[in-house]
């Protein structure tokens, strides 16, 4: 059975290691924070200017001066710090953030990503995504394997305007965990109850299947 959004987030949480500073994009990535193990130390950076982002506030304790990049009210953990946007992107550009998790509309087999614009239809802007994908060395995409029309989002080449080139290292979808290699999408794991053929059928780009493919452990 394919994963739901929480399932994707739960699987991605296993990629978060002790001592990591992590930037989470809007959508499924935000959910990842809920599944990170308690026994490791991880800090979340939000590019609007906080390191050490905590949980959402209790009702009545919201502070208009304390939000995340999704404009949601948040809290700060002990040891948190606030800084300006230039410093924030200095952290990102300078590769001080260990892991970036973000959503995508399309990913190509060479690691290109598109997630900010559908010409003529949707133009919300790239926000910090272009900075993140151009700088980070460890970029995991969290998304559904296919779009609402049932078309693959893992393509030979992106059809939408790019956000970044050759940058995605791993993709976790409702169907599979895939590594982006020099030779194409390499299937690492399938979702529980999902077959290699299911993944193959939902993947337009070149899918590399080597040996037995284990099932995801959640």
């Amino acid at each position: 059975m394919a994963l739901d959004k929480n399932g994707i987030a739960q699987r991605i949480a296993k990629e978060v290691k002790d001592g990591y500073y992590v930037n989470l994009g809007i959508g499924i990535p935000t959910l990842v924070a809920n599944f990170v193990r308690d026994d490791i130390q991880v800090e979340f950076q939000s590019e609007n200017g906080i390191l050490g982002m905590g949980r959402f506030p209790l009702d009545g304790e919201e502070d208009a001066d304390l939000i995340n990049a999704g404009k949601q009210t948040i809290t700060a953990r002990p040891g948190a710090s606030f800084f300006d946007s230039a410093t924030s992107f200095g952290m990102i550009r300078g590769k001080h953030v260990d892991l970036t998790i973000l959503g995508a509309m399309e990913v190509a087999e060479n690691g290109d990503i598109a997630n900010w614009k559908i010409p003529g239809k949707m133009v919300k802007g790239m926000g910090g995504a272009m900075d993140l994908v151009a700088s980070a060395e460890n970029i995991i995409v969290a998304m559904m394997h296919t779009n609402k029309a049932g078309e693959s989002k893992l393509l030979k080449r992106c059809s939408l305007p790019l956000t970044g080139v050759g940058c995605v290292t791993k993709i976790v979808t409702n169907l599979a965990v895939i590594e982006v290699t020099d030779n194409g999408f390499k299937l690492l794991e399938t979702a529980p109850g999902v077959s290699v053929e299911d993944v193959q059928n939902a993947t337009e780009g070149k899918l590399i299947v080597e040996g037995d493919i284990p099932e995801m452990q959640l």
Binding site: D65, I67, Q72, T73, D84, S85, D131
Partner: protein
């Protein structure tokens, strides 16, 4: 000390004109210069170019200037919360330059600090880099992005003193510090204006040299865009 105080938003905005380029601090509705924006709406100056990370919402923040069609061009990184914006942009009424958020911050900071341009990897290989110079350093590609030029920067701080020194609170800091001194005239509004010497000089985020005018703001609404709460454990 050199005193920067003006006693009203009217005096603080003196000199603003049709066709000018403004920088406006804030991220979403967090840390926006509410008083200055209201006055710009009241003055009804037109054909503005606004450099601001976001464009407010339909009835608050920069959305108010969009509503009155005072803005010709927006330079922003994300404008997803604003229907008026989308309508004006799709109809071609509004010229929009979308740029990466880190590039926006860096182009402000470059203007503040006298760097003519910066090299950033953001946007390389995308339409953002079209027509721009690109260059390799150590095997990685970068895009040359020029410092902004602006007439006024409007920022909002938590506390400030009469010498123009500013302190911000939480994530309301965001773009405000990097816009100070990045325009010909920087206007700061503050929630609390104090006497010089009351702020610890070690805690000042923006030295007064980057600010030309400072005033005590009023009636802050500080609207929350996405109120999100958790349940008690």
């Amino acid at each position: 000390m050199i005193i920067k105080t003006v006693d009203s938003v009217q005096k603080a905005t003196q000199g603003v004109k049709d066709g000018m380029t403004f920088m406006l601090g804030g991220f979403g509705l967090c840390g926006i210069p509410e008083n200055a924006i209201s006055e710009l709406v009241r003055l009804n100056i037109k054909n503005l170019t606004c450099i601001s990370n976001n464009a407010g919402v339909d009835d608050f923040g920069l959305g108010q200037l969009l509503h009155k069609k005072q803005i010709d061009k927006m330079i922003s990184s994300y404008v997803g919360e604003n229907a008026i914006f989308e309508k004006q942009m799709l109809s071609g009424e509004l010229d929009v330059e979308l740029i990466p958020q880190g590039t926006l911050a860096a182009r402000c900071q470059a203007a503040q600090q006298g760097f003519p341009a910066i090299y950033t990897p953001a946007g390389y290989g995308t339409e953002v880099a079209e027509g721009k110079e690109t260059r390799e350093f150590d095997g990685k590609m970068y895009v040359l992005e020029e410092a902004f030029k602006a007439d006024f920067a409007f920022v909002k701080a938590w506390k400030g003193d009469r010498a123009g020194n500013l302190i911000f609170k939480g994530t309301a800091r965001n773009f405000n510090p990097v816009m100070c001194g990045a325009a010909k005239i920087t206007v700061a509004e503050v929630e609390e204006l104090v006497e010089p010497g009351e702020l610890d000089p070690n805690h000042i985020h923006v030295p007064g040299i980057f600010v030309q005018r400072i005033f005590q703001g009023k009636d802050y609404e500080k609207r929350i865009e996405q109120r999100t709460v958790r349940q008690k454990d």
